[in-house]
Amino acid sequence: MISFILLAGGNGSRMNQPVPKQYLLLAGKPVIMHTLERIDDIKDISEVIIVCNEKYHDLLNNYISSYMLRKKIVYADAGSTRQQSVFNGLKKVTSNLVIIHEAARPFVRKSDFELLINDEAENITYGIDIPFTVLKANNYINGTLKRDELINVQLPQKFNVSSLLMGHMKAIEDNLLFTEDASLLFHYGLGQIKVIKGNSYNLKLTEPMDLILGEIIYKEYFTGRD
């Protein structure tokens, strides 16, 4: 069995909306519910830990009841950083393995989660090639990077819970902040991390324009409608 952490603690400040992006409607449904519905009948997922601000618990409970979700759902408090939010979620996990996903990525199919679950590797991230050039720079270019050695890291990811928790404890001790967990685990050499090829539909909703694109992606990728 595997636990599932859904990160929903973002405040969506870049969306310029009164509520965080995970509660906005996408194709008529709150963004966060797209993921929660798709994982609801994956039998291997034993528990869902939603990491979010406490003030949204009532709203989420209302959604969960209306959509008649059957999974056991618990809440963890959102932290002041993404890393702290993941750590808060990890502390609630009761399985040896965990999938980490973020509510702002609603274009992930049930089969994508199942692929992670069924893979024997314990630490896996989705990733896609980078189709553009990335350089190191501040005000001036100060370094080059080889594009074919880089990947664009996507969620969902799967991790061994003990290893990831250990990594988080070390990061707290070292006062280091990572923007996602494959980087953290790799930094501390706590396990090999497999990369599974993701796809470009797995957009993370960040800017207002992403919601416009999101409606198109949803129609094309999930309903096949004109």
Binding site: A27, G28, K29, E37, D41, Y67, M68, F222, T223, R225
Partner: protein, 234 residues
């Protein structure tokens, strides 16, 4: 056991559809909903008894009871595959005679009850691995102006819009939403709208039910998400 719920099954298009479906190999269980026991019994008497048929006396203007109604049907049948919203009402009045009660009563049966039925059924339908179907019976009165039929025609416009919206919203669950708009059809409701008309000269309920049966059959996969006008030209 593939299950289909039919509202308004006591008369008119609902009755014709119930009878028609009882003779077709589409559903195993037909749940007939109507408010008049005698009318439902008359429908039942004309149906093929090889089907599993359940009769439920229920007045759809009781909106609050609809969640329990549907959960009870689900508990008994363990699945809901199709919902046919056929029940309708009309009290044609010119604007200056149209009371708020008239508007509320008409919208309750023609719009709010279908909305509640759909919402409650979808809670179960969305877990059907092979999908499900919802069909709403609107009217050509919902797409062309009908002076004197304000509450009825506007309620039918609402159900057309609701159908198109839900067709998109429910597509990921593989729930297909159909909307049919019959033209003049010889039903008791039509008699209220056009009392002087000779019913034998216009489209019959069986002609509408024939289209409905085609739409809810397993073979039909392409006509959801649009308002389908059913009209006999001659």
């Amino acid at each position: 056991m593939k299950t289909c719920i039919i509202t308004g099954a006591g008369t008119g298009i609902g009755r014709a559809t119930a009878i028609d479906l009882s003779n077709k190999d589409i559903f195993d269980t037909l749940v007939l909903i109507g408010r008049n026991p005698q009318h439902l019994n008359e429908t039942y008497a004309k149906m093929n008894k090889k089907k599993d048929i359940r009769k439920i006396i229920y007045d759809l203007s009781d909106l609050e009871g609809i969640p329990d109604l549907i959960s009870e049907i689900y508990r008994f049948n363990d699945r809901i595959d199709c919902l046919l919203n056929i029940a309708g009402t009309a009290d044609p009045q010119p604007l200056l005679n149209t009371s708020i009660e008239n508007m509320k009563d008409t919208y309750t049966v023609n719009v709010f009850a279908p909305f509640m039925l759909i919402r409650e059924c979808v809670k179960y339908m969305k877990n059907n691995s092979e999908g499900a179907k919802i069909l709403n019976v609107a009217s050509t009165a919902g797409i062309t102006p009908r002076p004197g039929w304000l509450s009825y025609s506007s309620s039918k416009a609402a159900i057309i819009s609701m159908s198109l919206t839900l067709s998109e919203e429910l597509a990921e669950y593989r729930i297909k939403v159909y909307c049919v708009s019959p033209g003049r059809c010889a039903t008791a409701l039509r008699k209220k709208l056009a009392p002087d008309e000779d019913p034998s000269t216009i489209m019959q309920p069986e002609e509408v039910s024939n289209v409905i049966c085609q739409l809810v059959s397993d073979e039909e996969r392409c006509l959801d998400g649009q308002n389908i006008v059913i009209r006999r030209k001659i």
